[in-house]
């Protein structure tokens, strides 16, 4: 059975490679950009789902980890010349002002730094429960953002950073997404994954079964932050420009949305939901533009898109609180089994 899983994984990867080749050569750059965003949000969604969905930790601090990742990657990959241009108010500190790294090590360091920040935050904060954990993590995320707004000589403060090299392409984003999915599947189906789910289900019982709550919560938090840092780095190097205002609570909320709609305990749900939300967000852009319907022209109202978006959000939450997949996974096996199922056997299963 392991062999079957490995083979099907390789098949999916092959398909992805072919798809990326196709997209790069035949799809127009607007569509490619959207695909990049979708893949990045898969990474971000899964990283948050690990913490919130699988471990049951109510964490609202994701934007903070993304900020750390984005700034780290940007500052490491930009050329010294572009950096000098940006940091005209106050020069960038050494040695950052003169170094320029390739994308992969920059991303990895970004992830590691985010994980480290998660450790610093998690150690005191993860023993809080429910709403308290939520606002504590939200608070830390805001603290990070405020610090970034004020450290002129590291982050360029409120001015933000422009001219980040667009090193993110479909290979990187889909590659990172595939990597994240594989890591998540391997983690969740391992004993540690089960321990995390146990913590989600019933902390007291989990602890009584010998699971160290602190150790596992911090592990989950750090790995989630690592992936979020990478996601942030990919995002920054796709958009080309970042500033502290990008990493407000709204960003965390968008990702929270993705995982709730996809189903908080489902990897496949998050993947599907990330694509749907990103595409829907883009599709609704027309609401901000003037619409020429031929017989009548409706003037564009800036911000209407967000009104509709948040309105839809409330409606979905009111009626579909379990999300698309709940905590089930989509799998070929289940579909095959559905067709194979015989009616009640002796002592039968449902």
């Amino acid at each position: 059975m392991i062999k079957r899983k490995v083979i099907s994984t390789l098949v999916v990867l092959l398909f992805l490679i072919l798809f990326v080749l196709f997209a790069n050569n035949y799809l127009d750059s607007y569509v490619v950009r959207i695909l990049n965003l979708c893949a990045i949000y898969v990474v971000l969604g899964l990283s948050m789902n690990l913490i919130n969905g699988f471990t049951g930790l109510f964490s609202l601090g994701h934007a903070g980890f993304m900020a750390v990742g984005a700034y780290t990657t940007a500052l490491l990959t930009m050329s010294p010349a572009v950096k000098a241009q940006n940091f005209f108010m106050m020069p960038l500190i050494k040695p950052l002002d003169s170094i320029s790294w390739p994308f992969l090590p920059a991303l990895l360091l970004a992830g590691l730094l985010s994980a480290f920040v998660a450790f610093l935050i998690g150690a005191p904060v993860l023993r809080l429960k429910g709403d308290y954990l939520a606002i504590a993590t939200l608070g830390f995320s805001e603290i990070i953002r405020i610090i970034f707004t004020n450290t002129q000589n590291i982050t360029n403060g409120a001015l933000g950073i422009n001219g980040i090299p667009s090193t993110t392409n479909l290979w990187w984003s889909f590659g990172a997404a595939a990597f994240t999915v594989i890591i998540m599947i391997l983690l969740i189906s391992s004993s540690y994954g089960r321990a995390l789910k146990a913590i989600r289900e019933d902390e007291v019982a989990a602890e009584s079964m010998g699971i160290s709550l602190f150790k596992h919560k911090v592990l989950s938090f750090m790995i989630g932050a690592f992936l979020a840092g990478i996601g942030g780095g990919l995002l920054g190097n796709l958009l080309g420009t970042i500033d502290p205002l990008m990493f407000r609570f709204m960003l965390t909320f968008n990702i929270l949305l993705i995982i709730v709609l996809g189903g908080m305990g489902s990897i496949t749900g998050t993947i599907v939901s990330a694509f749907i939300i990103t595409i829907a967000g883009e599709a609704l852009r027309f609401l901000d533009e003037t619409m020429d319907l031929g017989f009548v022209v409706i003037p564009g109202i800036a911000g209407l898109r967000m009104v509709v978006f948040s309105g839809l959000l409330i409606i979905v939450v009111l009626f579909f609180s379990n999300g698309l997949m709940g905590n089930k996974e989509f799998s070929l096996e289940k579909i095959i089994n559905k067709f194979k199922k015989k009616p009640l056997e002796e002592g039968g299963s449902k």
């Binding site: 109510f58 150690a123 005191p124 904060v125 023993r127 809080l128 429910g130 709403d131 308290y132 939520a134 606002i135 504590a136 939200l138 608070g139 830390f140 805001e142 603290i143 405020i146 610090i147 707004t149 004020n150 007291v204 602190f214 609570f249 709204m250 909320f253 929270l256 949305l257 709730v260 908080m264 109202i301 800036a302 911000g303 209407l304 967000m306 009104v307 978006f309 948040s310 309105g311 959000l313 409330i314 939450v317 009111l318 609180s321």
Partner: protein, 324 residues
């Protein structure tokens, strides 16, 4: 439980900073200090008024009403349009604003919270956040994203002199108004039937309804009061900080929720105490460490983390234990 706080982190707090603050303190004249203090008390009062709304709703529904800060924002816009577009005199406008905001608060509860009262926690939270974003974006679309100037009637902004300090009349009026409304509120909660209903529902929702309390009405009432107080705060805020914008409620909202947590979430006196701690603390921070002005907002968050680590139930809070 058993995890030690790493006090080693404290040694990284720059000593030169503290020294600077101390020198500032020594050099500051009494009048300057009093000026800062009165400003702090004013700000603290405004925070207190808004924090009460958060704490009451959380006490009753265990829900963080993320939209509360935006209701505060809407109130300022109601006041703006009442006075600027409809040219109503301030005493009529203010009254109208309080009424409208109260209705808005009740409406928000009916639309976004009541239908999912028994849904999983996360759905309720998302609905609250969604409602918050909805209001913010609605305001952006309807009122325009650019900040507007709040028309503060002269009678409030007139500068008066007390001893060596010069402040606006408003700065004194704010704490007085807050105090008066607070007395009203405490009377309401402790001496009226509706108040008793509110206390009952926040202690035990189900038992209260079995005992004949109309839970829905009580909850609406709670939202109404919270929103009314937020409206009072909003009007005074608009006069003190005359620039209003659709996103102006985000930071104050967050800070006021933090104030409620610091004071002990669910406890009204706590919310007021928390509001003052935050308001006075913030002003004093900027007064003594002017080079830290950019970190002004971070002050609230740092206080939050500190309280959550040392006394999570807040200053006035009680310990709740889980039955195993």
């Amino acid at each position: 439980m058993h995890y030690k706080i790493d006090c080693g982190a404290l040694r990284y707090l720059k000593v030169p900073q503290l020294l600077r603050g101390y020198i500032m303190f020594l050099n500051m004249s009494l009048s300057s200090f009093l000026q800062h203090l009165t400003n702090g008390i004013s700000l603290g009062s405004l925070y207190a008024l808004i924090a009460i709304g958060y704490t009451m709703v959380y006490g009753i529904l265990r829900l963080i009403n993320f939209a509360h800060g935006d209701i505060f924002m809407m109130a300022t816009y109601f006041a703006f349009y009442a006075m600027v577009t409809f040219l109503l005199p301030w005493y009529i406008s203010f009254f109208l604003v309080i009424v409208l905001t109260t209705l808005l608060g009740i409406l928000v509860e009916k639309a976004a919270y009541r239908p999912i009262r028994n849904a999983p926690k996360i759905s309720i939270l998302i609905s609250a956040i969604g409602m918050s974003f909805f209001l913010e974006n609605l305001a952006t679309v309807v009122f325009g994203g650019r900040p507007k100037a709040f028309p503060a009637p002269d009678i409030f902004t007139k500068i008066i002199h007390i001893g060596s300090i010069s402040i606006q009349r408003l700065t004194i009026i704010i704490p007085i108004v807050t105090f008066v409304f607070l007395l009203f509120l405490l009377y309401l909660i402790n001496r009226t039937k509706s108040g008793m209903a509110m206390r009952a529902v926040s202690k035990d929702y189900e038992t209260a309804s079995i005992m004949g309390v109309d839970v829905n009405k009580t909850i609406s009432f709670t939202f109404g009061i919270g929103s009314a107080l937020a409206a009072v705060g909003a009007i005074m805020w608009g006069m003190k900080f005359p620039q209003i914008a659709p996103l102006m409620g985000v930071m104050p909202g967050l800070k006021c929720f933090i104030a409620a947590v610091i004071g002990g979430i669910g406890n009204i006196t706590g919310a007021v105490i928390g509001g003052f701690i935050l308001g006075i603390g913030e002003i004093m921070l900027v007064a003594f460490f002017p080079n830290l002005t950019g970190y002004r907002d971070a002050f609230a968050f740092i206080l939050l983390i500190a309280i959550l680590l040392f006394k999570p139930t807040g200053i006035m809070g009680e310990k709740i234990s889980e039955k195993v």
